[in-house]
């Protein structure tokens, strides 16, 4: 593995160590990683991207393990799918370190060359999905995995981020949410394509399922209707029950995933989601690039002087921002 070209070719050829190294470069936002992704991008767009979110401890990793097992060992004559798993855990805001423990629940997948598991820390991403996650998912897509499962902690922004990244979003909850159901409802109804009540061996499953179904009937979020000008085809998120630790309900869950993929293809929603995702990625990158250029170009003295004028109420922050960004600076060098 000497050069950039070798790295790209090795990844395309399905070599695992070069892929693992590329993922590190992408995570570190290293220039070699970005250059490799530029070349690999033309090979992306094939994988089915599945987001898995939900409350801490609800059983996301255990279910990812079960879903991957089922995809690797289909019982209904479907071909086995290769599966990449990205498991994101939070970085400690105090030390910058992280303990990434999702693999503990995925030991059944060991030794299978059709599986690749990567743990990631959220790093700088404020409560949300690490920015590098997008690049990591692209690399795995280009490497030829049929399905990329992304597990993330269901907290605040990351739920929305995962729904934007994924074709299919699974929201995993445990029974007994009781009164909390009102609180979580708004967020999950917006993003869930499939709702899973895991730990169905715990009490309170039936009432949790009933409450969620009732709420789903009240309102269908707009993106479920956004199918290529048609209002006839509507995806109503199924509410499923599973016991990940006993492999129960997994067949139904995997069926729902396949049905959702078919729905996306038949209605044109697959392309629509692809476009929305790429648009938001483009917008994010333009913002970052322009900010970097501006930071390179603005002189600290001018910045200080302008700040003083704002403090003295001589110009408004808005006027100052216009002045400081005009004309737009040249491309950022590093």
């Amino acid at each position: 593995m000497t050069g950039k070209q070798d790295l790209v070719e090795s990844v395309l050829a399905g070599k695992r160590l070069p892929l693992a190294r590329l993922l590190t470069l992408v995570e570190n936002d290293a220039p070699e990683g970005r250059a490799a992704l530029d070349q690999l991008f033309t090979h992306t767009g094939r994988a089915h991207l599945i987001g898995v979110t939900g409350s801490p401890g609800s059983g996301k990793s255990s279910l990812v393990n079960q879903i991957a097992l089922a995809l690797r060992n289909p019982t209904d004559g479907k071909p086995a799918r290769s599966v990449a798993i990205v498991a994101v855990d939070p970085t400690s805001p105090f030390t910058g370190g992280a303990v990434l423990g999702d693999r503990v629940r995925m030991r059944d997948l060991a030794g299978d060359p059709g599986i690749f598991i990567r743990s990631m820390a959220s790093r700088g991403a404020l409560g949300g999905l690490s920015r590098a996650t997008t690049g990591v998912v692209q690399a795995l897509d280009a490497a030829g995995f049929d399905i990329v499962l992304v597990e993330t902690v269901g907290a605040g922004q990351s739920e929305v981020d995962i729904a934007r990244l994924a074709h299919t979003t699974l929201v995993i909850e445990a029974p007994g949410m009781g009164d909390d159901i009102q609180a979580i409802k708004a967020g999950i109804l917006e993003i869930a394509d499939i709702l899973v009540i895991n730990k169905a061996d715990h009490p309170g499953v039936d009432s949790t399922v009933r409450a969620l179904r009732a709420m789903l009937e009240l309102g269908h979020p707009t993106h479920h209707r956004a199918a290529a000008g048609s209002t006839a085809v509507l995806w109503i998120p199924p509410v499923l029950q599973t016991i990940a630790t006993k492999s129960e309900g997994i067949g139904e869950l995997v069926d729902a995933i396949y049905r959702h993929a078919a729905y996306l293809h038949e209605t044109g929603a697959w392309q629509l989601r692809d476009r929305i995702r790429l648009q938001s990625e483009l917008e994010q990158l333009v913002q970052l690039e322009l900010t970097a250029r501006w930071q390179d170009s603005v002189s600290p003295e001018l910045l200080q002087a302008t700040l003083s004028m704002i403090e003295a109420r001589q110009i408004s922050p808005y006027q100052a921002a216009i002045q400081l960004t005009h004309p737009l600076p040249e491309p950022h060098s590093g």
């Binding site: 936002d29 370190g97 990434l100 693999r103 503990v104 030991r107 060991a110 030794g111 990567r118």
Partner: protein, 136 residues
């Protein structure tokens, strides 16, 4: 932007079901700013090497109490090499008889830590071995 984080796999091979020591080290490494991939109990050498590869770690910490270290540890080292991960530093913690330490070091282990080793020492030595491999 380029941000270098030390990534360490903490693995617990063997049949004993005791991973308190492994967890203490995992937390100490996290508190030192490292990203620690924790794989849980009863890992085979094959599972450890596979995880080390997928996670592209800089170091592997093997916590071992079962007494099978002279078999399991060299096997992990062989598999890492076979996978092209010669640069990965391997540390062993647990109950290791004094007499076995030279053999483990000769097999390629960077350091062996007995019970009661201060976590600060472990953190320091892993950091040094990863960032300055030429000095180790």
């Amino acid at each position: 932007m380029t941000e270098r984080k030390i990534r360490v796999l903490i693995a617990k091979p063997g049949l004993d079901g005791h991973d308190r020591g492994a967890k203490v080290i995992a937390r100490a490494l996290r508190d030192a700013g490292m990203e620690v991939i924790y794989t849980g109990l009863r890992q085979t050498p094959e599972m450890i090497a596979e995880a080390a590869l997928q996670e592209d770690v800089d170091a592997v910490g093997i916590s071992i109490l079962s007494g099978a270290h002279m078999v399991l540890v060299p096997r992990v080292l062989d598999l890492l090499r076979a996978n092209g991960q010669d640069g990965v530093r391997v540390f062993v913690g647990g109950i290791i008889p004094e007499n076995d330490v030279p053999g483990l070091i000769a097999a390629g282990v960077t350091a062996v830590y007995g019970p009661g080793t201060p976590t600060t020492q472990v953190v320091e030595e892993i950091t040094r071995a990863v960032l300055h491999p030429e000095q180790a």
